[in-house]
């Protein structure tokens, strides 16, 4: 029997239309950018060891944090779980042979690579110093770096994410296996659907905004130009109309992964399936209504600020629903502390801290105090790194046997998970404290009283780095020396585990037919019910 990994030629990879191979192609590219962006972060942390700006100049520092932000957001986090794990798993999870548009899927990878090359070009020719947000007039009237090329890079990469989102939505709508009703979809698929919705509806606004920025730079006059009565803050409106929902592109898929991990390693049916599914959709929709909370200290009207503040608080409701449901799933579960589960538990804690501090930031008055401080930096790193990166690593460990047909070394995995968790908290918790005390972000030098926090943070970053390097090492090791994986090493439910590891090119040897919900872990429970004459319950049904 041939697996999808059988062929080895370059052509078989670069011209593939197999969603599984395309997922792996994405993995290579985003890891490449992750390494570059991490090195930039490392340099910044080194610079901040001492209060004086002695390692890099302020200009270089500006370019470092811009590089770190741009690459991490658009070339790592946005495509991380959707384009790698999503591409690999979505058709497997819904019992399809491939996504709806395989050629388009490969095209989107090439578009992504083209965007990445533009970004690399800008990087090699001196970088960009506007910050990842490209606020006008830093990026228009007063720009003196390669804003145009970098904006073009993101414009192009944006289309890749639109195409991926479109492909996923159509796939989920039309390619489900017989019996796979909407409420039998794994929650990861629901979260991918919500993510795709944001990708499809928000990214075009970012694209047109960056295009307008580029036209303004090239033409000399433009829409954000105060000489024409233009309002630079309009850029922030349009930018955050994308970028706030994009924050949810960078967490929703992580939440989906966690739902899969928690239920598998607690050996228990997920608690409140419908609530988790709908809260994903609610987060995606509410995410479009809150962008103004990034602009509380701009010239935005205070009344608009009040509305945005109120709406921002609403997002906490579906987020909290998820956390409570995961916790309730753990309750009385038979918990197994495998590596993916360690990541999942870490996620729940760190996401909760990140989410709660988000409420603090959504309050108009408090935000004036902590705006643009390390408090904000710590807050969104708790979501992006403590949330999404942990979920990505957890998911990668969980599905590694399916992707490669090999097991990773369990002990090393646990060690890496613990190192990552400890290192992460050492890095970012001190930032909450110094941010609250007034340490502004984006400064390469600072008053000496903040040094102790910066030293803690830099020390933590080095531990965190080990937590990243270790998996990279043993994952590569496992490709050759790892134990061969069975089709279902975790005794998990879900269609992707009912096909061999690694899967055949067409995913399933026979068309799967779905007869139950996705998380039928309660075998004993079902037995007990059968004994006392109750029928086994399945959530929802075919629709």
């Amino acid at each position: 029997m041939t697996t999808y990994l059988e062929k080895h030629s370059w052509g078989s990879w670069l011209l593939t239309r197999d969603h599984k191979r395309i997922g792996i192609l994405y993995l290579y590219v985003i890891l490449f950018f992750f390494v570059i962006a991490s090195v930039a972060a490392g340099l910044m942390r080194l610079e901040l060891l001492t209060p004086a700006g002695d390692l890099v100049t302020s200009d270089t520092y500006n370019k470092l944090f811009t590089l770190h932000g741009v690459l991490m957001v658009w070339f790592f986090l946005v495509p991380s779980i959707p384009a790698v794990l999503g591409n690999f798993l979505l058709p497997l999870m819904i019992g399809a042979r491939d996504v709806a548009f395989p050629k388009l899927n490969l095209t989107s990878w090439y578009i992504f690579v083209a965007g990445g090359l533009c970004a690399l070009w800008a990087l090699l020719h001196g970088g960009v110093d506007t910050g990842w947000t490209f606020y006008t007039p830093y990026s228009s009237t007063y720009a003196n770096t390669h804003v145009i090329v970098m904006a073009a890079a993101i414009f192009v990469a944006g289309f890749s994410s639109i195409v991926t989102g479109l492909n996923f939505m159509v796939t989920i709508h039309t390619m489900r296996a017989p019996g796979m009703g909407w409420f039998r979809l794994p929650l990861f698929v629901w979260s991918l659907y919500a993510t795709s919705l944001i990708m499809v509806l928000a990214t075009p606004v970012l694209a047109i905004t960056l295009a307008l920025l580029v036209v303004e730079r090239l033409w000399g006059v433009g829409i954000f130009d105060p000489h024409l009565g233009g309002d630079p803050v309009l850029f922030q409106h349009l930018f955050w109309f994308y970028s706030h929902p994009a924050v949810y592109i960078m967490i929703l898929p992580g939440m989906g992964v966690i739902s899969e991990l928690i239920t598998c390693f607690a050996r228990k049916k997920i608690f409140g399936y419908n609530f988790i599914a709908f809260s994903s959709m609610a987060i995606a929709m509410l995410g479009f209504l809150v962008w103004g909370h990034h602009m509380f200290v701009s010239s935005q009207s205070i009344y608009a600020g009040m509305v945005f503040s109120l709406l921002s608080f609403l997002v906490s409701i579906p987020s909290a629903i998820k956390v409570f449901n995961w916790t309730a799933t753990l309750y009385k579960g038979s918990i197994v502390f495998q590596t993916p589960m360690l990541y999942a538990l870490g996620f729940i804690g760190l996401f909760t801290i990140g989410g709660m501090t988000g409420l603090i930031l959504a309050s108009l008055g408090v935000d004036v105090h902590v705006h643009d401080t390390y408090f904000v930096v710590a807050h969104f790193h708790y979501i992006m790194v403590g949330g999404m990166v942990l979920a990505f690593l957890g998911g990668l460990h969980y599905w590694w046997p399916k992707i490669t047909g090999r097991m990773y070394p369990e002990l090393m995995g646990k060690l890496a998970a613990v190192l990552g968790f400890v290192g992460f908290n050492f890095t970012f918790f001190p930032q909450f404290i110094m941010g609250y005390m007034g340490m502004p972000r984006r400064y390469h030098a600072y008053p000496p009283e903040f040094q102790v926090f910066h030293v803690l943070s830099t020390a933590g970053a080095s531990i965190l780095a080990c937590g990243y390097l270790l998996p990279m090492g043993y994952f590569i090791w496992s490709l050759r020396y790892g134990r061969k994986a069975t089709a279902n090493p975790w005794d998990a439910t879900g269609l992707e585990w009912q096909t061999p590891s690694p899967p055949p090119t067409d995913n399933f040897n026979a068309q799967p037919v779905v007869t139950t919900g996705p998380y039928e872990y309660d075998a004993e429970e079902a037995e007990r019910r059968a004994k006392i004459g109750l029928l086994p319950q399945t959530p929802g049904g075919a629709s």
Binding site: H237, S299, Q300, S301, Y303, A304, F308
Partner: protein
């Protein structure tokens, strides 16, 4: 393999309606409507859009999910415009 889903006659009537609305919108521009000009113009445009979408783009015979996909873009655009205007319309208010 398929059959025509909407008749030629309907297409002709749709075109007639569209051209009629075009004449209407130009005429409205010359009437003293004051601040209602924008509302009138947009109302005519939305009517034209609905004619095009329902008949030319076959929404009339499409499934609900297509209706959903057809409307979601406009819903999001409304959110973008309304919440942006919420800022610009209230900036000059004194607290």
């Amino acid at each position: 393999m398929s059959e025509p889903v909407i008749s030629r006659k309907t297409y002709v009537w749709t075109l007639a309606g569209l051209l009629g609305l075009l004449c209407l919108t130009v005429m409205l521009a010359y009437l003293p409507l004051g601040p209602l000009h924008l509302a009138a113009g947009m109302l005519v445009s939305v009517s034209k859009m609905l004619l095009i979408m329902v008949f030319f783009m076959h929404l009339r015979v499409s499934r609900r999910v297509i209706w959903l996909a057809a409307s979601v873009g406009f819903v999001m655009l409304t959110i973008l415009i309304v919440l942006s205007l919420a800022d610009y319309a209230t900036r000059s208010w004194m607290p």
